[in-house]
């Protein structure tokens, strides 16, 4: 058996992702359990925030982790495991877009992108009007406002163009640096910067009513 002994810190959770992945590649199945527990939520959120349904997000999540599992013996720790993981997640997402001929997400995106300010304003108006019409006690009002903000945030993120959306999500949700995002998306860093800037600008415009 090709069992690999992990360092003593394993139980403490201080073993790096790369070491865990290498251990899994050499036959230690429990290493992937730990890796999965560490990253399952960020990967799942990455898909959910794309505007996909939960079922599709779970399916893509499953595919991503299966790819990791199947490629365990070929893994080389040339970069952070998170970078490797999100590169695979992004490719899985792109494959999904290629395969998908039904235009649910695309239609959804087209309605709110391509500098169509009218559409953006309509989202904002709907959100804001929906919020202002509610009359409730302060505590309930806060909860509702939080809920509405979350929905509006998700809608506005999903309305971003794909390039901007993935850069925004990788930075804001997953905590990657612009350099790492450039590595994941195989793009020039300046283009990633530009996407990030435009994404912020667009989101601020769409969510300006929520400014305190």
């Amino acid at each position: 058996m090709n069992q690999v002994a992990l360092p003593a810190e394993h139980s403490k959770g201080s073993v790096t992702d790369e070491a865990l992945m290498l251990a899994y590649g050499k036959g230690q199945a429990s290493s992937l359990d730990l890796l999965y527990q560490r990253h399952k939520q960020v990967v799942f959120r990455f898909f959910v925030k794309q505007g996909l349904s939960l079922a599709v997000a779970e399916e893509l999540c499953h595919d991503t982790w299966l790819k990791i599992i199947n490629a365990r013996e070929q893994y080389q720790p040339q970069a952070l495991f998170r970078t490797y993981l999100f590169t695979i997640a992004r490719n899985t997402l792109l494959d999904h877009y290629k395969k998908k001929s039904t235009q649910n997400e695309v239609n959804h995106t087209n309605n709110y992108t391509d500098n169509n300010s009218g559409n953006e304003e309509s989202i904002t108006d709907v959100n804001h009007n929906g919020l202002s019409e509610k009359i409730a006690t302060p505590s309930i009002y806060e909860e509702q406002q939080k809920e509405q903000l979350q929905i509006a945030l998700s809608l506005n993120i999903a309305a971003l163009p794909i390039a901007q959306r993935e850069v925004f999500l990788l930075k804001q949700e997953s905590g990657f640096s612009l350099e790492q995002i450039a590595q994941i998306t195989a793009q020039h860093q300046e283009k990633v910067k530009s996407s990030w800037r435009y994404a912020l600008k667009r989101l601020r415009k769409g969510l300006q009513h929520y400014a305190k």
Binding site: Y36, V48, C61, H62, Q150, R204, L207, Y210
Partner: protein, 306 residues
């Protein structure tokens, strides 16, 4: 001027950076405002699927290679067994169906038919006796009308009946011997025939019928007139030049005879049993007999209408 432009660019860049920082702060503020608890997580089912897939993949790849070897051998053994079974089945089927086997079965069928022929021989003997009785009866009936002719006829028929009875007795002895032999052969041949499928038997019957039809096509039907013509012609010939005939075979509807003309080229004729009766069949009949009036008395015309 260039300094002014540079200052403007720096100011724009600075403003853009400030703007971006403001935007980032704004988004971060919004993110902070949104409760992290409400953020969706993958379902436990998905977690279980992925963890199971991870463990299964590792367990599969860690299995000893001996299993693979075993799989290889087992698949080879299965393939070899299948090939052997299929070839045995094919061989068995090909052993049932070939023509040689069919011919053998056909021969066995002929052997089986011989006892039946002996039975028909018994019937023919009985028929012969009936014929003799008929002739005797005709002789008795004609006695009152033409006494002298009837006397001659009755004397002739008495001689004939004696001859026929002797031949019939010999025939009975031969038939009994044949039946004994057939009883010995019959179980074996019957088992073999039963082993053959109905399809094969049908095929044999068809072959037999086809052969019989071919044989029938080559044989000429002998008419009463033709027989009488032969008799008259032969009567005029010398003893040495007389035409000869010999009995060839018989079945339940006809006799087959050969007639040898003066050039001794045999002509095969078929005698319908409804019209003719060949009397005193014995080994002697297989030899050539002169086709004269007396000898042809062995061939009796039963139905003069034809």
């Amino acid at each position: 001027m260039p300094n002014k432009r540079t200052d403007n660019n720096d100011r724009q860049t600075h403003n853009a950076t400030l703007q971006q920082q403001n935007d980032e702060a704004f988004i971060n503020e919004l993110y902070d405002a949104v409760s992290q608890e409400s953020q969706s997580q993958p379902s436990e089912l998905l977690d279980q699927r992925i963890i199971n897939a991870a463990h299964k993949a590792v367990n599969t790849s860690n299995k000893p290679k001996g299993n693979n070897k075993f799989k290889w051998y087992s698949s080879l053994a299965t393939a070899a067994s299948l090939t052997l079974v299929i070839s045995l089945v094919v061989l068995q089927q090909s052993n049932i169906l070939p023509n040689e086997q069919a011919n053998n079965m056909l021969k066995q069928g002929v052997v089986l038919q011989k006892p039946m022929a002996s039975t028909s021989d018994n019937e023919s003997i009985a028929d012969q006796e009936v014929v003799v009785e008929q002739i005797d009866y005709q002789a008795q009936v004609g006695y009152s009308a033409m006494p002298s002719q009837v006397e001659n006829a009755s004397a002739t028929t008495t001689k004939m009946s004696n001859t026929i009875k002797i031949a019939a007795e010999e025939k009975m002895v031969r038939a009994t011997q044949y039946e004994k032999k057939a009883q010995l052969i019959k179980p074996q041949t019957a088992e073999r025939m039963m082993a053959a499928s109905p399809m094969i038997m049908t095929r044999f019957n068809k072959i037999e019928q086809g052969k019989a039809q071919e044989d029938r096509a080559e044989i000429i039907d002998l008419s009463i007139e033709q027989l009488k013509q032969y008799k008259r012609s032969n009567k005029a010939l010398d003893t040495q030049n007389k035409w000869l005939w010999s009995f060839s075979s018989e079945n339940h509807i006809e006799y087959i005879i050969h007639i040898f003309n003066d050039n001794h080229a045999p002509l095969e004729y078929r005698l319908d049993k409804n019209t003719f009766k060949v009397m005193g069949l014995s080994k002697r009949d297989l030899e050539k007999s002169p086709l004269n009036n007396k000898s042809l008395s062995k061939i009796i015309i039963l139905n003069t209408k034809d």
